[in-house]
Symmetry: C2
Subunit: 380 residues, 2 copies
């Protein structure tokens, strides 16, 4: 099976749907604990997304799709009087679905509520809305038979997961030629298996290159305020056996000045029609360093991250998060009480600073309106 | 008295010498606690410097001078059989010094040991060596009478403190015209009263402008890994009543891109003969942002921070600190065990990125070999 070949490339289950339950590796507990959350229903999935227990644009998309499936599981099991053990499972697919006592209307109402809830969690990552749209389209195409509706939605949710994993492997394969033996590569935040379906985008490129036998050093920005770089990127890279050096975000400039960085590669949360790229706060600073020191700045992202309805980066909604992420650590204050905080979760890197975007359709050099339109038409 | 006028401008005792004891506000406990350490002898002062309980180039210089005085206090009291309560006090000066049982040789040996110990604490801040040199010169000029030696060294240590405070007020006065009403000013780390004799260098400029009635907003980088910006700069600015917004270091680029920063001002730990400036890690990134977005980048530093023996920034020794500053917080891991870390305490900003250096001798525009030589000759 295709998905078995793909899932072998995962080294840990970022997000999964097994035996009627959404399973998520709780990323807020890494690297101290590898704790898998079992989430029942869209409310629990929405809370996990909001609290960054699952994060990274592609992973959020998959979690949202599974949140919709969890809503479906709930309403359809209600029809069976909860006698069915579980209805859906990523490996087994859809099992026998109890059709009595549930109408198409019930399902549509339930899923509309779940969609609204999941869509309200985080505003920047476009993959969230893209995944919800795909589930909605599948539901719309399923007709009025509850059993068919269930089958169709489940199939779509699993397809989103499987396809994303295939996409990541394609990104890794396309991007690998950018990585040469002995390179020193800077990355920011986490665009690895834990941000995605399980392999990674920016880190996927590095993983593929490593699997091809190339050896290089990755400098990982710790990525304040939530330290995804320190907690998650170092954890992933070390598990893969890749040489990794952790640094505070503000130390990157001195590495560039010393000639110790050859390229930077990051993920993306949303890419506008002109190539402007929203990604984790701090990415713009990395891109500016690449520009000043004449080094390539690469973005790796699936096509699902492109939002061609948005003309430029200035229209991408940027989530501002609570001040406590900055003013406390492990629950203890690091700033005086009442301190005012500027804490955007993302920034926008103008397309002019992006050397290339690695997608599953190939490497897009000098991204801009024209190149993106050509890729949208399937070229690459 | 001159020093009383100056000390009124301090809002807290960064470092002081009272009744035979070095008193230091423990900056590692801020902002949770305002705890004053009482240090006896050079060993305790050296440990406090090494552990960053006192930090900031000018404050380290003063602490080192007082560390030498504490060594002197110790050996001279030993001569009195410890019957004297205390010998030296910043406000009272030198009291009656017991001269029996102590030779000039004893004093020189003791102070040579103290100097070696204090000089080994931190390599980058030149003020440390500058202060130790001043004490040594005072000792050399005092002849062989133990009482005179004691008087002369104490006078020099108190003079270093008093003069630095005067210098900071002069820096504030000279720099104030750079600050206009309504400006948004970025600062990095802490170059305020707690980094200095009590008023501040970069923040001293802002304090003077504020005391003149100007109103502006300060954006304070939190300054990883030790969060001097979050813990100390916000604490100082808020106590002065200045509007302050805290941000993670990596969020500054997005503020510049949004046109929300008009200028940056920082302190310095050592300035080479060509104007290259070592300061807290992350300063270079701020300077590069100023360059890219066409905003002025100011350094404020006393003349004691210039090291004209060093031709350029590449020869400034940069302290690398332990990995645990980056991999743990409040004693709890934030990165996988065994993670390799790059953790320099400082970086070097090339003179070409520095718009001006504010010194007690005036504003030095376009710092470089020529301008620095003119300032060294007393021009300004």
């Amino acid at each position: 099976l295709e998905h078995n070949r793909s899932t072998e490339r995962m080294i840990f289950p970022t997000v999964d749907y097994r035996r009627g339950i959404v399973r998520i590796l709780d990323q807020t507990r890494l690297p101290l604990e590898e704790h898998v959350l079992e989430l029942r229903g869209p409310e629990e999935v929405a809370a996990a997304i909001r609290e960054l227990k699952v994060r990274g644009a592609p992973a959020i998309g998959i979690a949202a799709a599974y949140g919709m499936l969890a809503a479906l599981e709930k309403i359809m099991k209600r029809g069976s009087g909860d006698r069915a053990g579980y209805l859906f499972d990523r490996v087994e697919g859809a099992r026998e679905i109890p059709a009595h006592g549930i109408t198409a209307e019930n399902i549509r109402d339930e899923l509309a509520g779940a969609r609204a809830l999941l869509a309200s969690t985080r505003p920047t990552a476009v993959n969230l809305f893209w995944a919800l749209d795909r589930i909605e389209a599948a539901l719309g195409a399923a007709g009025d038979d509850p059993v068919q509706m269930g089958r169709r939605v489940a199939k779509e949710a699993f397809a989103i997961h499987e396809e994303e994993l295939e996409v990541e492997l394609a990104i890794g394969r396309h991007g690998s030629p950018l990585i040469r033996n002995g390179m020193n590569i800077l990355t920011h935040c986490n665009a690895g298996g834990l941000a995605t379906a399980g392999y990674g985008t920016a880190l996927g490129v590095l993983y593929w290159a490593f699997e091809e036998g190339k050896r290089f050093t990755v400098y990982a920005d710790e990525t304040r305020p939530l330290l995804q770089g320190a907690r998650i990127t170092t954890w992933e890279l070390r598990r893969r056996g890749i040489e990794t050096i952790l640094l505070c975000d503000n130390a990157a400039a001195s590495l560039f000045a010393a000639g110790r960085i050859d390229a930077a590669i990051v993920g993306a949360d949303r890419i506008a029609a002109n190539g402007d790229t929203a990604n984790k706060i701090g990415t713009l600073g990395v891109a500016i360093l690449c520009e000043r020191f004449g080094k390539p700045f690469y973005v790796a992202a699936p096509w699902s991250t492109f939002d061609t309805k948005i003309p430029s980066g200035s229209e991408i909604p940027i989530e501002e998060r609570g001040s406590r992420e900055v003013t406390a650590f492990w629950g203890r204050e690091t700033a005086p009480p009442g301190t005012t905080v500027y804490n955007p979760a993302f920034d926008v890197t103008p397309a002019s600073l992006v050397t290339a975007i690695v997608t599953e359709r190939g490497i897009m050099e000098r991204p801009g309106e024209g190149t993106i339109r050509r890729f949208a038409a399937g070229a690459g």
